[in-house]
């Protein structure tokens, strides 16, 4: 992600950090208690205590009430849309993200630096702006929509529109996790594979792909996690019809607007638990990636 520059820096600066055991530094460098204390306090006030409110609020509900709230047909339909669309979008980003990373690392072409910089646009562009602009493009009279409409393809205000918005949102994740790994792969291995008689395609699937697999899956999981929680870019393009094109975050908003705080909290807790699980998966994948690059 945005760590591309820092990870490059850390590998270059690592030799400078040799020596100087941490046991010594604890005695020499000041500010340990101050900075740690402040960091933990701020983390607790901004993140942990408010998040715990979600759990405590859910505990005030009866189990039946909670179960009904999180398994109502309309809510179930929203899970199917949110997870289905996020999965498709992350898969599209897996393929095209790898392609973009490959092209940026391996080939030379005019305007490459601009293309490289542009990859981060979805991180920098506010989601609401992306939402209205994609809707304008895909609506029946839009630049893209006017060509699709006569073919009977409707993207705006359908679940397909949700997928388009989520592809946009998740685009940088796979590119930015695969790119640095691809830069570090050793050409010698590919040369060896070729001299042993492998075709280019075999070299790619048997030599290159396994070495970038951890990074590829990390990027995929990040894009998927981001897509599940996404709200701003989706609500403009989705049409938001109950049972058809209503995402789970919108269900929470809807319940809040009806002052159904308990119901909103219950659905939010389901989303939070899923986010935690995905965070664990991503952490595991990153550990795998680190071990792979150190081996």
């Amino acid at each position: 992600m945005s760590g591309a520059a820092t990870s490059a820096l850390s590998s270059a600066a690592a030799p400078l950090a040799s020596g100087g055991g941490h046991g010594v530094s604890r005695r020499v460098l000041p500010g340990f208690h101050l900075t740690l204390g402040y960091a933990v306090l701020y983390l607790s006030l901004i993140v942990l205590i408010p998040l715990s409110a979600l759990v405590f609020k859910t505990f005030t509900m009866s189990w039946e009430h909670f179960w009904v709230a999180v398994t109502a047909p309309r809510v179930m339909a929203s899970y199917r849309l949110t997870f289905g669309a996020s999965l498709i979008a992350a898969l599209v980003n897996l393929v095209f993200g790898l392609l973009v990373a490959w092209v940026l690392v391996r080939y030379k072409f005019p305007g490459k630096r601009i293309v490289d910089a542009l990859v981060d646009l979805p991180f920098a562009l506010p989601t609401a702006v992306a939402g209205i602009s994609l809707t304008a493009l895909l609506a029946g009279n839009g630049w893209v929509g006017q060509f699709l409409e006569p073919l009977g393809i409707k993207l705006a205000f359908t679940p397909a529109g949700v997928v388009i918005a989520l592809i946009f949102i998740g685009l940088p994740f796979v590119v930015r996790t695969v790119q640095p790994v691809l830069e570090d792969t050793e050409k010698e291995l590919e040369e060896a594979a070729t001299s042993l008689g492998a075709t280019r395609l075999q070299t790619f699937t048997k030599v290159i792909l396994p070495s970038i697999m951890p990074a590829l899956l990390t990027g995929f999981a990040m894009a998927f996690a981001r897509a599940i929680g996404e709200y701003g870019s989706v609500i403009f393009i989705a049409g938001n019809m109950p049972m058809i094109s209503e995402i789970t975050p919108l269900i929470i908003i809807g319940k809040l607007e009806q002052y159904d705080y308990a119901g909103a909290t219950a659905v939010a807790l389901v989303m939070l638990v899923i986010s935690f699980l995905l965070l664990l998966v991503i952490n595991g994948l990153q550990g795998w990636k680190r071990r792979r690059s150190e081996a």
Partner: protein, 298 residues
Amino acid sequence: MSAPSKTIRRVQAGTTESAWVRRTLIGIALAFMFLFLVLPLAAVAAEALRKGVGAYLEALKEPDAWAAIRLTLLTAAIAVPLNLVFGVAAAWAIAKFEFRGKAVLTTLVDLPFAVSPVVAGLIYVLVFGAQGWFGPWLQAHDIKIIFAVPGIVLATVFVTFPFIARELIPLMQAQGTDEEQAAIVLGATGWQTFWRVTLPNIKWGLLYGVILCNARAMGEFGAVSVVSGHIRGQTNTMPLHVEVLYNEYQSVAAFAVASLLAILALVTLVIKSVIEWRHEREMKAIAELPPERPTPAA
């Protein structure tokens, strides 16, 4: 055909693809980028200028638009420094010292990235809202947090929480503690060491984090939407104002405000790229120095 030339051809073909495969792959990648990134940007500009430059400027002169711009700037001006101080403190503790629970703390810093923006807004409603933990107390003392500016700032702080810390932690870990220890041993105070040794070493990483944090702070929609209450001219940030105008079918006005946010995004990308290119050059300069002097003269 002689044997050596055949070998050379095989080896060249082994580390790259034939010209037509290369061109096809570049073509598909560029087409994908054009469809998903360039077209949406161009559409913002086209829709904003649909009725001419006059209508565009008129839309930006609206008092409600100005109120939204002011609120967005205010929110970012509070949220970014708060997360900057936290980021530096957390990175100092995590990168320069060993302690139990360090891995847990590092993971928890990233937590807000995993939480849906809508859930981020909701948790503050549960704490400070009318029916929340502090709701009755706040009402008794006539303090408004939810559906008011403090709630917007809090939600923004939450969603932008990890940006600066996660840039600084790996950077400061890689730099180690040798330079700081030398400064302390030579008699510098803690503050002097931080300002004169640590800060110059991390300034680009810091700026990188601040830029990304600021872009998200100004552009956040979901979390802010939950706590804002959408009071025109009072609690609408720029992205929320875009939504209000869009839902009222004031397309030109909506895209006019959106165009300002798009410009912000482009400026963010330019600054970010400049930092990265600078950094690349510095790394090359370090690599080219003779081995006995591994750091460039300050």
